[in-house]
Amino acid sequence: MILLDRVSKTYSRGSKPSLDRISLHVDPKEFVIVVGQSGAGKTTLLRLLTREERQTSGKIIVGGIDYDKLKDREIPLLRRKIGVVFQDFKLLPNKTIFENVAYALEMVGMGNKEIRNTVPKVLDIVNLIGKEDSMPMQLSGGEKQRVAIARAIVRQPRILIADEPTGNLDPKHAWDVIKILEKINRFGTTVLLTTHNQDIVNRLKRRVVTLKDGKIISDRANAGYKI
């Protein structure tokens, strides 16, 4: 499903690489946790997968699509296949919670009736029923995070990328979020999760990829947290 072959990313010429010859293979329906200290390159890795950034060298193939052969106009189609929970949420500030989630469906041409059916179901999954008409500004950090998750899963993507989706949450809510991700994973979505939360890593017992200074220093199944 995801294949990286000696991928490097250097943001600006001359600076040291944020990712340094990363090779990674993720099978369909796999659940992978990426851990690493702040600045290790986790977000950078995810940005390469969504084509927000282009790799400086190496090969990226996702769902059979070779990113070197990807034309600019094909990028939107690629992004619609990947659900992303951004570390900084990236909610649309002028839209209500409902509209934020609906936006992901509107752009693919889904009818209003179907949207009105689908969005509440997803908001229910992330426990945000009753907040439909709030603006993002009026929500707590954790609530925003859950909106971001709802938006990422509403299109039922084959791949879900979640960048620190538990960053703003207390342990109980953090675990709720993780359970949502596990559920989605059970339905067949490949999940890529980055986190700092040692407790979560230990409880999940999933494959853990550890980054340090842009390099993979370990990649183990059923691992616990260890940096």
């Binding site: 927000e52 939107p76 619609r80 909610l91 992901a104 509107e106 752009m107």
Partner: protein
């Protein structure tokens, strides 16, 4: 299914454009003001141009050259002269009035002046037989003039031919005014059109700048280029459409205001009555022209702006 999705998407793009238009109204006003000026000038130029050419053709029809024949000219000499005149290159029609016909014409033209009529009737018809020539091209009367002043021809005439000179002058003035106005009109339209495009361009650029974070998010969520670009273009087309309608309203209002006061006065050469009826009769056509121009100006400027600032780029 695919078609329906496209339709839904198109509607969403239009809807977003309209919503953004209202949200940006304060920015939009400057863009629309200049566009209204442009389109009003265009409309005004069209109307004035048509009115002038109407006036010219009206006066042109009235212009003629009259040749006054001596009493002793025989019928055969007259016939020969007429056929010679007809053979001249710049002659459209030739009409012959015998002394009696010329008198009748004279009387009907001066029916209000009893004294004059009496004086004419007391003597035995002083009005000469007349040949009336309608030239084809008023700016080229010299060939007719030259022909009529040939010694053998002028020997047949009582007076030198009359050229209804005053009206020729009027035509020259109107033609001149039309040419000047056309030139001014074209230059003004070009200048204002360019300024409109620049200002709309700037407005859209500003709108893109204000929403750059939002746009970036939309992109990351997988919105296609046209899904993002479309609303900006719709928005500026709305500027164009509204400006076109306002320009029509302005012209309409000025006709209403002028119908009483200006009728025969300050604009002198401009036949406001005709201009007004032209505006009324061709209303749909003029409206269409204005709306299309508005759409084109709006679309072109936002197409350029969005092309420049919404270009899909990945580093």
């Amino acid at each position: 299914m695919r078609g329906k999705r496209k339709l839904i998407t198109l509607w969403r793009v239009i809807h977003t454009g309209l919503v953004n238009f209202i949200r940006n109204l304060s920015l939009a006003i400057a863009a629309m003001a200049i566009m209204v000026v442009t389109l009003t000038i265009v409309l005004f130029s069209i109307i004035v141009n048509y009115t002038f050419s109407h006036t010219i053709s009206q006066i042109t029809n009235k212009i003629d050259v009259s040749v006054y024949l001596k009493n002793r000219v025989t019928q055969s000499q007259t016939d020969k002269l007429i056929s010679e005149i007809k053979a001249q290159p710049n002659v459209q029609t030739v009409q012959y009035l015998s002394k009696a016909q010329a008198l009748a014409e004279y009387e009907s033209q001066n029916s209000s002046n009893q004294q004059l009529l009496q004086a004419v009737n007391e003597t035995s018809n002083p009005i000469p037989a007349t040949i009336i020539i309608k030239p084809r091209n008023l700016n080229n009367l010299s060939s007719i003039k030259n022909f009529l002043s040939e010694p053998s021809i002028s020997a047949l005439q009582t007076d030198p031919p009359s050229y209804s000179g005053q009206e020729k002058e009027a035509i020259d003035r109107i033609t001149h005014a039309t040419n000047v106005l056309q030139e001014i009109g074209v230059v003004a339209v070009i200048i204002f059109a360019v300024v409109s495009v620049l200002i709309i361009f700037n407005t859209i650029q500003m709108a893109i700048f204000n929403r750059r974070d939002e746009i970036q998010i939309m992109r990351l969520l997988g919105a296609g280029t046209w899904y993002i670009r479309g609303p900006f273009i719709v928005e500026s087309i709305v500027y164009g459409l509204l400006s076109a309608i306002i320009s029509i309203l302005i012209i309409n209002a000025s006709f209403q205001a002028s119908s009483g006061t200006l009728q025969a006065s300050s604009l002198g050469l401009l036949d406001i009555g005709y201009a007004n009826s032209f505006f009324d009769n061709r209303f749909l056509l003029l409206l269409t022209i204005q709306l299309s121009l508005g759409i084109v100006i709006g679309a072109v400027s936002s197409l350029i702006a969005t092309r420049r600032y919404l270009k899909f780029k990945t580093k």
